[in-house]
């Protein structure tokens, strides 16, 4: 009877048909616009790769690229370091504590980036609570410049990226057999040796996955740098928005957008060769 159902031709056609609404939506309202961005980047203001030449000739474009790469790299390094620490502590904790820690990680994850950036702006302003407290304690004489500069952007971005790092690393560490570490210890390895020679190598896939994910996601940031950088720290996404909104240079804007998209998708594709990306997103 099963094979009979298998062979009914209307069945398979019907299942193709129910996929149509989503496929049509994706095609018409998503892929067509993306294709238009690609096309504009090689046709505006005139056909050719003139816009892409600006990657090598325009110093303001290069500055934006370098700022983006630098901020993404620092964010990734700090998020990996802090994320590893937290994920390790979670792995070592009892399952009750683990659940509470997971809740602490997921809580900011679900509060909008706009609200969180605004909260950091409130906290770190010249006359904000952090500077006021530091001055009241007599640690500083005048307010530290913690926002409207690169420091502010970094604080905001690390805060947004840290949950991604923790969740990816934790998913990896959960799959590690702790008995291996215990075995190394009982064979005479010190705590540090057991960590360095047994545990750390086993978390390499997690580190690669988390690092790539955080770096890729950092490249396209717009809201956090715009609010906490105060217009002084132009990353690619904000630079693109400025080109479109203020100077109407569609060719340059779409070229940078295309470059950003290719870099992100290329890195994701490379990552998918090493680890299961769908599981990263599904986590």
């Amino acid at each position: 009877m099963l094979s009979l159902a298998e062979r009914r031709p209307t069945g398979r056609t019907a299942y193709w048909l129910i996929m149509l609404p989503a496929v049509a939506m994706l095609l018409l309202i998503y892929l067509v616009p993306l294709a238009d961005v690609l096309l504009t980047s090689v046709t505006d203001p005139k056909p050719g790769f003139g816009n892409y030449a600006m990657l090598f000739t325009s110093s303001s474009v290069q500055r934006a690229l370098l700022t983006t790469l630098r901020i993404a790299a620092i964010t990734t390094a700090v998020a990996l370091l802090l994320g590893y620490l937290v994920a390790y502590a979670m792995r070592a904790a009892s399952s009750r504590t683990q659940r509470f820690m997971l809740f602490c990680v997921l809580l900011p994850f679900w509060i909008s980036v706009l609200v969180r950036s605004f909260a950091w702006l409130t906290l770190l302003r010249g006359s904000g609570p952090v500077n006021n407290a530091l001055m009241a304690m007599g640690l500083i004489d005048e307010p530290l410049a913690l926002v409207r500069n690169e420091t502010g952007v970094l604080i905001g971005m690390i805060h947004v990226m840290l949950p991604y790092a923790i969740l990816t690393l934790y998913a990896n560490m959960r799959g590690i057999d702790i008995g291996l570490v215990a075995a190394a210890r009982s064979l005479g390895a010190s705590r540090l040796q057991a960590f360095r020679m047994v545990f750390l190598p086993l978390t390499r896939p997690g580190l690669i996955g988390a690092g790539t994910l955080v770096f890729i996601l950092s490249l396209g940031f717009y809201v956090t740098p715009a609010l906490l950088g105060g217009g002084k720290v132009l990353m690619i996404a904000e630079y693109v928005a400025v080109q479109i909104n203020d100077t109407l240079r569609w060719g340059l804007g779409t070229m940078l957008a295309t470059t950003l998209m290719i870099a992100v998708l290329g890195a994701l594709w490379a990552l998918s060769r090493v680890v299961d990306v769908k599981r990263l997103f599904g986590a």
Binding site: L2, L4, T10, G11, Y15, I18, M19, P21, A22, M25, L26, I29, V32, P33, L34, D36, V37, T40, L85, V86, Y88, A89, R91, A92, C104, V105, L106, L107, P108, W110, I111, S112, L114, V115, F118, A119, L121, T122, R125, S127, G128, P129, H159, L162, I178, V181, A182, G220, Y222, V223, V240, A241, I244, T254, A257, L260, L265, K278, F281, G282
Partner: protein, 266 residues
């Protein structure tokens, strides 16, 4: 002894990082009750003046309604289309349907600014800039990945023979969906709906580009407010958004709890 060891200092550091992660956003709550006219903690006492301003402002209230119904309609579209698509991919599981499922995740991977440029150009041609329909469509398509991912997750635990049995007993595809498949994947569908809703409710970058002069969702009005003048009313809005998100997250967590309870039986 099969637990991982961690030194006291490291554990304390981890807790410090966790509190720096979880707590800062909540600063907006005391700030929203400030008795001053600027963005600061309450000085002499608590005041409801900024909450009053917010709740009597026609602009903010209209933004709430706009955000709510745009999120509701776009979520409905994403849930219906995304669920059907995930079921189709699951049942067919051919090379092409696998590619379709991967393509559905694209909106999560491509930086939003890239899409914002493209959809703006398309909407200029279609005269959809500044229309609710335009924002609903854009939010629906970018909400699809959440639904496809969560529903696919639910489907992976569902025995395909259930569908074959229903079809073999003479049920049409529509009946099989309605009475067999959808009831079994309901937790995944609801999770997807929650994620798609939060996605639309929080979405800012696309709305900045296609909102035109008429459409101010809550995040966009907040964005404009932050860039114009840092008014304590924004802290009120931020507080409201946090509370709303917590409410939805609690719903999702209880769904998740029910899901894990039901897995051993499956």
């Amino acid at each position: 002894m099969k637990t991982l060891q961690i030194s006291g200092t490291m554990a304390a550091l981890a807790w410090a990082v966790l509190s720096l992660l979880a707590l800062p956003a909540f600063i907006v709550i005391p700030v929203s009750f400030t008795d001053t006219r600027y963005l600061s903690l309450p000085e002499e006492g608590l005041s409801l003046q900024h909450w009053r301003t917010f709740l009597t402002s026609r602009e903010w209230l209209s933004s709430i309604w706009q955000s709510l119904w745009i999120a509701t309609v776009s979520t409905a579209m994403a849930v219906v289309a995304g669920t059907l698509c995930a079921v189709g991919c699951w049942r067919l599981s051919s090379r092409i349907s696998e590619h379709v499922r991967t393509a559905m995740i694209l909106p999560l991977a491509v930086p939003t600014i890239v899409y914002a440029l493209g959809i703006y150009r398309l909407y200029v041609q279609l005269d959809l800039v500044g229309t609710a329909l335009g924002v609903v469509l854009a939010h629906a398509v970018t909400g699809l990945p959440y639904v496809v991912l969560t529903v696919s997750g639910s489907l992976s635990n569902l025995d395909p023979r259930l569908e074959q049995a229903a079809r073999g007993l003479g049920a049409s595809v529509g009946q099989t969906l309605r009475w067999v498949i959808v009831p079994n994947i309901m937790p995944g569908v609801l999770s997807g709906a929650i994620f798609a809703f939060i996605h639309s409710w929080d979405e800012l970058i696309v709305v900045i580009f296609i909102g035109g002069r008429a459409l101010f969702t809550l995040p966009r009005r907040m964005w404009d407010g932050i860039n114009d003048n840092l008014d304590p009313v924004i802290a009120v809005v931020a507080t409201g958004m946090i509370l709303f998100t917590l409410l939805i997250l609690t719903a999702e967590l209880s769904l998740g709890a029910r899901r894990t309870e039901s897995t051993p039986a499956a």
